[in-house]
């Protein structure tokens, strides 16, 4: 969470976050609030469009998008936009999408364990997928 604010000339865009992002917490995490943009689209279609615009704009360091589901075609478009704009795109989806294919470079499954989060790397372009030990954080 704490990354993304390091680049001095870039914005952070959160699209359709599940709850209201809480400004004091973000400030605690070191996110520069002045460069954070929250977008609340009315539909998934608009969310995807907004993500594509933000990714391709060249002013964003990272674009975080929360969605219930998408199709492959849109994922490809987002990937192209991210490459064109030089931005990091992160899409949060429910765990049930884990078996679908995706053009993303990195796919991560996060599950909540008894005491800590588990992370499984589902796909790593040019690397080896597998579980990650977070060291009980």
């Amino acid at each position: 969470m704490g990354q993304g604010s390091a680049d001095d000339a870039s914005w952070l865009v959160w699209i359709a976050p599940p709850h209201e992002p809480y400004a004091p917490a973000l400030a605690q995490q070191g996110i520069e609030l002045g460069r954070l943009l929250v977008v609340r689209p009315a539909s998934a279609m608009e969310a995807l469009w907004a993500a594509e615009q933000a990714l391709g704009s060249g002013v964003c360091a990272a674009v975080l998008l929360w969605l219930k589901g998408t199709d492959d075609r849109w994922l490809r478009r987002l990937k192209l936009a991210a490459e064109a704009g030089g931005a990091l795109g992160v899409l949060f989806r429910p765990g049930r999408h884990r078996f679908e294919s995706s053009p993303a470079n990195l796919r991560v499954l996060m599950t909540q364990g008894e005491r800590a989060a588990h992370i499984d790397l589902l796909k790593v372009q040019g690397g080896r997928p597998g579980p990650v030990d977070l060291g009980g954080a």
Binding site: A23, V38, P41, E46
Partner: protein, 485 residues
């Protein structure tokens, strides 16, 4: 008295307000009065001490005793300024009920001061507006004479003290307290006031009052804000045939936008709002309102936003003509030019305001916002949405961040619920309590103990998730208020 000038640097004092320009007819500009930023063309830092080529000025002051209602008079004064501009280019309004005209440059045109003075007076008579006017070589002297109802026409600075001496002190419009101090001292006329030792005067009445006396006597000059009429861009385009397709409208819009951008460039101004009116053969016109994230005069940005908006529009009926109307013109200051230059990526194709505008044009104004934290104990009141993108907001927020950086011991959750949810009490408390008790004064008081907690694994959802919960101290009930990511 020496008022020789080095250069005319009027534009250095351009005020940031939309409809006002400050001209410094002054050898001295008190710094505390005018912290105006320079215009972009002059890349100086601080406003410099302004000089003036004309060695003397002549001020015509007019007071309208019937204008007393402050809200109404502001509008009337604006209109009267327009009338006054027939006589001189430099008109300044003095709320609530006076106008000041610098008429030195107009003397030659009108032949003599008497004729000019009579000409301006006749203007008010035609408007059936009772007016007291006076002319003097200093701004305040003219204003004070007019307020006192002395229709004097003084051109010579030397006779000024004698002319002012008979005026009652009330004509200065100083506050009641000052005037009472003076009356207690036995001072009722300006002449008596001028005879008092200056140092003692400054001590008793304040430096500002002593300075005003200097200004009235022409020993010191005061810069004035010039009246600038409100301008808007307005252009109309009539279709040869009725247009049903929005794509054709876009084509027709391009030249209109180009003219608007040209108009703005000539005035070194920008707009923050635009209106497009589409007229149909029958029925009311379709109005499109556009808000921009920052002041701009750039053709591409204006066009970009309008086309986005047009793209979403469903035409009710074919369009016969359209009209583009700009919002009020705002000066493009150095600040508004540079704000986002530093914030955008170096090789980026867009700027941040452009992105925001594009998103807003399609998703709606309210759907795109920033967040800022506020120094406030109640968690739900410690943040707010920020809708305008401005450097000031960015700064304010980042300063706040620095303030908060180290102080808070207890963590805050990334997600805050709109309203706290009641919780069963099978929680594992991990951190806390942090007592928050605040807000009793505005009726939304809270008295809570906050904890960082985890839910038992048996729970249906969010098992093991890190939660931000609180126990209300009165009811002893538990609520969920946020979640850690």
């Amino acid at each position: 008295m020496k008022l020789r000038a080095k250069s005319r640097t009027a534009d250095l004092f351009a005020a940031p307000e939309p409809a006002a320009r400050l001209e410094p007819p002054a050898a001295q500009c008190p710094a505390e009065q005018r912290p105006a930023p320079p215009r972009p063309v002059q890349t100086g830092g601080m406003p410099q001490i302004a000089g003036r080529t004309r060695t003397r000025q002549l001020w015509y002051a007019v007071v309208f005793p019937e204008l007393s209602d402050a809200a109404h008079s502001a509008v009337v004064l604006q209109r009267l300024c327009l009338h006054a501009q027939t006589f001189t280019s430099f008109v300044s309004s003095e709320p609530p009920n006076a106008l000041l005209l610098e008429i030195k440059g107009s003397l030659k045109l009108f032949g003599s001061l008497e004729r000019l003075h009579a000409g301006i007076d006749a203007c008010w008579r035609r408007l059936a507006l009772p007016a007291n006017s006076a002319t003097a070589p200093s701004v305040l002297a003219a204003l004070w004479l007019a307020r006192a109802g002395h229709p004097a026409q003084i051109e010579d600075l030397g006779t000024l003290p004698g002319q002012l001496a008979q005026l009652p002190i009330a004509c200065t419009a100083w506050d009641v307290e000052r005037l009472q101090t003076l009356r207690a001292m036995g001072v009722t006329r300006l002449g008596e006031l001028l005879r008092l030792p200056r140092a003692g005067l400054a001590r008793r009445l304040g430096v500002a009052a002593a300075q005003e006396l200097d200004i009235a006597l022409g020993r010191q000059f005061a810069p004035r804000r010039a009246f600038v009429p409100r301008e808007r861009f307005r252009a109309r385009w009539d279709a040869e045939t009725e247009i049903e397709n929005a794509a054709y409208l876009e084509k027709a819009l391009e030249p209109l936008i180009a003219r608007c951008a040209q108009f703005l460039r000539e005035r070194q101004a920008g707009v923050q709002a635009l209106r497009l009116k589409l007229r149909h053969r029958t029925g009311p016109a379709t109005q499109l309102h556009l808000g921009l994230a920052s002041i701009t005069g750039e053709r591409c940005r204006l066009l970009d936003v309008l086309i986005q908006k047009l793209g979403r529009l469903e035409l009710r009926a074919p369009v016969r003509s359209m009209e583009l109307i700009s919002g009020s013109l705002q000066p493009l200051s150095a600040v508004s030019l540079d704000v986002f230059a530093g914030l955008t990526g170096t090789g980026g194709r867009d700027t941040a305001p452009q992105l925001v505008e594009r998103l807003r044009a399609r998703l709606g104004e309210e759907a795109v916002y920033g967040v800022a934290s506020i120094a406030e104990h109640r968690p739900e009141a410690a943040w707010r949405r920020v809708h305008e993108l401005s450097l000031a907001a960015v700064r304010r927020v980042s300063e706040q961040r620095n303030d908060q950086g180290s102080g808070d011991g207890m963590p805050r959750p990334v997600w805050l619920l709109d309203a706290p949810l009641p919780l069963p009490d099978d929680l594992i408390l991990e951190q806390g309590p942090e007592r928050i008790e605040s807000g009793w004064w505005d009726g939304r008081g809270v008295a809570r103990d906050y904890y960082v907690a985890r839910q038992h694994s048996g729970a249906r959802q969010a098992a093991g998730a890190k939660l931000w919960v609180f126990q209300e101290r009165q009811s002893k009930r538990w609520y969920l208020h946020g979640m850690f990511a």
